[in-house]
């Protein structure tokens, strides 16, 4: 089992004929993800890699290929419309990889998506992988292994680093999700924690946060109040200066709020095991899981 992406996932790739879209579509197909359709307006009727049908619209991909999940690789200036198109077409999970979408665009787009009963992961995220079942996005599959650890993170490569440590130690993953580095995102830590708590295949969760905002603090409160499964956490940016955007649009300490110290303190207070460095993830998880 797993969360959000699984064997039921029937994927449409929006921007399948683009540079990034075609590369990752191939990667996902190789991994075994059911890539049932691609969308590029004007290329409807063609096939991708000789077998995946391309449609002009997501609506057609849903109607004719039965897509239920979408992954978006289109450039930032078209990405919001791609999200809204997927929501209008009845897609239930949208994963938006695209980086560089203006925050005010997302602020307007999110209610539209939610009113249609749709979940958005991202934008500016690496997507999700449920090892052995399905991969939607860009997380390198070779570092993952099937297992029972849920991983949720605001970052990309830092996630890979930690997942890599887990896999090497024999701790496979139920699902690994990157929720994205932007300040306004569709799926929060809490959404993922709740899903992991409800997922019978997940035994413990690794939460990877960073400076900026208060998502980790809210997640900590949620863990304390609602979770029975062990959670361990890491916060990047202990040495980040205030007021500077550390790569991710959302990774910025505003005034005195959003620091790594306050987040680590909030995690600790909620009973979450806090790592001082990524390499501690395995011993800490083993300790918390009692094995």
């Amino acid at each position: 089992m797993s969360i959000f992406v699984n064997r039921e996932t029937r994927l449409v790739v929006q921007g399948i004929t683009g540079r990034d879209g075609s590369f990752h579509a191939r990667q996902m197909m190789e991994y075994g993800t059911a890539v049932v359709a691609g969308v590029t307006p004007g290329k409807g009727g063609q096939k991708f890699e000789g077998r995946v049908p391309i449609f002009d619209t997501v609506a057609e991909a849903v109607a004719e290929a039965g897509a239920n999940t979408s992954v978006i690789y289109v450039p930032a200036r078209f990405a919001v419309d791609a999200i809204l198109e997927a929501a209008d077409a009845g897609i239930s999970l949208i994963v938006c990889i695209t980086e560089g979408i203006p925050v005010l665009d997302m602020v307007r787009a999110l209610p539209y998506v939610r009113e249609r009963g749709c979940r958005l992961i991202g934008p500016n995220c690496p997507g999700a992988i449920s090892p052995g079942e399905s991969k939607v996005g860009i997380i390198p599959a070779q570092i993952c292994r099937p297992g029972s650890i849920g991983v949720v993170s605001r970052s990309g490569t830092l996630t890979y680093e930690i997942v890599h440590q887990l896999s090497r130690a024999g701790l496979g993953q139920s699902t690994c999700i990157g929720i994205g580095g932007d300040p306004i995102i569709g799926t929060s830590f809490i959404d993922c924690l709740a899903a992991f708590e409800a997922d019978p295949a997940t035994e413990a969760v690794v939460l990877i946060g960073e400076i900026g905002g208060t998502d980790e603090q809210e997640a900590a409160r949620y863990v304390k109040e609602h979770m029975t499964k062990p959670v361990v956490g890491f916060i990047a940016g202990q040495t980040a200066p205030p007021g500077r955007r550390m790569g991710h649009a959302g990774a910025i300490i505003s005034g005195s709020s959003g620091t790594a110290a306050e987040k680590m303190e909030a995690l600790r207070k909620a009973g979450i095991g806090v790592m001082a460095r990524p390499a501690e993830v395995v011993p800490l998880l083993r300790e918390r899981m009692g094995r």
């Binding site: 925050v103 005010l104 390198p140 605001r154 990309g156 490569t157 040495t239 790569g247 990774a251």
Partner: protein, 379 residues
Amino acid sequence: MNLHEYQARALLKAAGIPVPDGEVVTTPEEAEAAARRLGGKVVIKAQVHAGGRGKAGGVKLAGSPEEARARARDILGMTIKGLVVKRVLVVPAAEIASESYAGIIVDRASQKPVVMVSPAGGIDIEEVAARTPEKIFRVAVDPRYGLLPHQAMGLAFKLYRQIDQVRAAARILEQLYRVFIDAGASLVEINPLATTPDGKVLALDAKLVVDDNELERRPEIAAMRDLDSEAPEEVRAREAGLSYIKLDGTVGCCVNGAGLAMATMDLVKYYGGEPANFLDIGGSSNPQKVVAALEIITADKNVRVILFNIFGGITRCDDVARGIVEATGKTPLDRPLVIRLTGTNEDQAVAILKEAGFSALTDMDEAVRQAVALAKERA
């Protein structure tokens, strides 16, 4: 991207918000001339991207044009939080009856623009929020509707009782929201929003931060970027498509991915070192970016050792290796290099580096420990 006060007030003025006249100048003589044109007492204000200008001596009152020149001379060229003052704003010294605060941010929790006002203006709003949170009033705006007239009025009633002032403040809030949206801002502030003894409501200071992701579609805002006011190496980094922030340490870091870059800095600190910078080469693996990154890091004279930490995913390790070889081939390094790379095309990368005489590690902790040790040796 931060705008200067003079740029922000120009946007406010264009939106119809009452802002006193003012002139931005770069020399004491121009400041004198500006003060003469404005008449009466003036305030000389340093135009730098730093808070706490006033405390640092960057804001001065001048009673005459001559004094304006003297004060401008004091301020121009001074350094505030590491930034040299190259411009001053000359504005009339307004008589003030009351000072309030008005601001708009994108609130991450509600995922909406939030308009805030406080009758406790003129001082640091974060302090007000911490000490007397009941003095801050907020309205979360549905961005599909914008700030509604009744919402603006409701907030304005928190500042004033006299209906003309309430209506004037409500109008200013609606105009401020327009500026916020039209500029693609992530923050806009008027502090203080002042009343004059004859009852007018005025914006006496303005702050505006633009979402960097908006700049591509707003060339007129992007053109306001003041390269003079930024560290030159950060300007170069941005032009090369890198995300770079200079710090004070000795271990230069070159990492792919923002989260891993922060974690690398943290690990340097954990092992007793000090990171010299944040540097994210981004997801794509263009050797040219690596070359530019090395140039920028080595230009920092504090750097004693250079640490690469690459986790190959989309980034291909061999591309990074090629970049390192290319850059060091042109200009041999005068400082040691510690390279950690793992993931996509790791083996090819190790082979490329080996041929050029470099060795590579695969463990992050080990690499950071080595780098810190080298930095200490070379102290």
